[in-house]
């Protein structure tokens, strides 16, 4: 996205939600805005309808765990299909209690993406119609993509240091 287009988007958000913005950056020229969690649904809805933004397509949504700051990020990627512009929104949540409102009211396609984020990171999406595990077994008691869990299966006894250098 061109710098001037990015400015337009930033101006559009700042018009109404300047207080909600925590950080703005553009790594690899990809506009990324970190916002507070309280008005995330409102902001996404606003970006959906605003004539300068029209982000009416949800490319993806997912989690990122940052163990060093003990926080989980919920990341949204939105696409304006009219002007072919993209934007990334980030919301930082505390890892002990990651709760954020659902955006299934705006994008029905967010349903499974939010379930996946719940499944792998344990993020609770308040108001989600069917928040349960989607890919992992229902009996799983951990959120496996959090970095506090080691990659290998810990229930395995036969792969030990003598043979596999674990």
């Amino acid at each position: 996205m061109e710098g001037s287009d990015q400015e337009k988007v930033i101006t559009a958000i700042k018009e109404k939600y300047e207080d909600e913005i925590l950080h703005i950056e553009a790594p690899y020229n990809f506009l990324t805005i970190t916002i507070k969690k309280e008005k995330v649904v409102e902001i996404i809805h606003y970006l959906y309808n605003h004539l300068d933004t029209k982000f009416q397509f949800l490319t993806t949504l997912g989690g990122i765990h940052f163990p060093e700051v003990n926080q989980i990020v919920v990341m949204y990627q939105l696409h304006n299909l009219v002007n072919n512009q993209r934007i990334r929104l980030k919301v930082y949540l505390p890892a002990e209690n990651p709760v954020i409102p659902t955006i299934t009211g705006i994008f029905a396609g967010a349903n499974w993406l939010e379930r996946e984020t719940y499944d792998f990171f344990g993020v609770i999406f308040e108001g989600h119609p069917n928040l349960k595990r989607i890919l992992n077994v229902d009996e799983m008691i951990i959120y496996p993509m959090r970095k506090e869990y080691p990659l290998e299966d810990q229930t395995r006894e036969d792969k030990n240091d003598t043979m596999f250098g674990r």
Binding site: L135, N136, V137, M140, I142, P144, Y149, L151, E152, D153, T155, R156, D158, K159
Partner: protein, 191 residues
């Protein structure tokens, strides 16, 4: 009993036939144990159920194809219903979520049943040493023969089938009723 003598097991036909089991033959009769006849019949008519989840399944397709031709060993008739299958061939990574499905397929098979675990993933989890993958199907069902390889070549799969055939041929008719067998199944929580 002068007419009785041990029968040679070779046949003269140019078409390879199954070898006669050990027994006694005279004019108009052949005597052997039922176990051996049943073993011979079962060995050469195994109906496999292919449970193929990944690349080992592709190798199995080659094994079934004209070039390697598993039909030569009496296993050309695949059974896609577990209720009619004799041999469960597990080929590929079994995710933990797939575990109960595999187990149900095994439970639906009628005795006698055998299990062939093809490839590193089915046998041990393979390279997928991770939270979502079952670390070897022998954690949920008993396995008779393991075929190593990632994936194994068709020759190796055939070798595994021949080893299964040997088990089928030599198995005692009463084995499935034995206490040891039931204890073994109970260890897996089956029945």
């Amino acid at each position: 009993m002068s007419g009785m003598e041990k029968v040679a097991t070779n046949t003269k036909s140019s078409v390879g036939m199954s070898e006669k089991p050990e027994g006694y033959e005279g004019i108009g009769f052949f005597a052997t144990s039922l176990e051996k006849v049943v073993g011979m019949a079962r060995k050469n008519s195994i109906w496999p159920l292919p449970f193929a989840t990944s690349c080992c399944g592709i190798e199995f397709m080659a094994t079934m194809g004209a070039h390697y031709d598993l039909a030569r060993f009496g296993s050309e008739r695949l059974s896609f219903s577990p209720r009619q299958a004799d041999l469960l061939m597990v080929m590929g990574t079994i995710a933990k979520k797939m575990g109960p499905v595999l187990r149900q397929v095994y439970e639906q098979m009628a005795e006698p049943r055998w299990v062939l675990s093809v490839g590193a993933c089915a046998s041990s989890g393979g390279i997928f040493d991770t939270y979502s993958v079952l670390q070897g199907i022998d954690r949920i069902i008993p396995v008779d023969v393991y075929v190593p390889g990632c994936p194994p070549r068709p020759e190796q799969i055939i070798d595994g089938i021949i080893k299964i055939q040997h088990l089928v041929e030599t198995e005692s008719l009463r084995r499935r009723d034995s206490k040891e067998y039931k204890t073994m199944l109970n260890k897996y929580g089956i029945e």
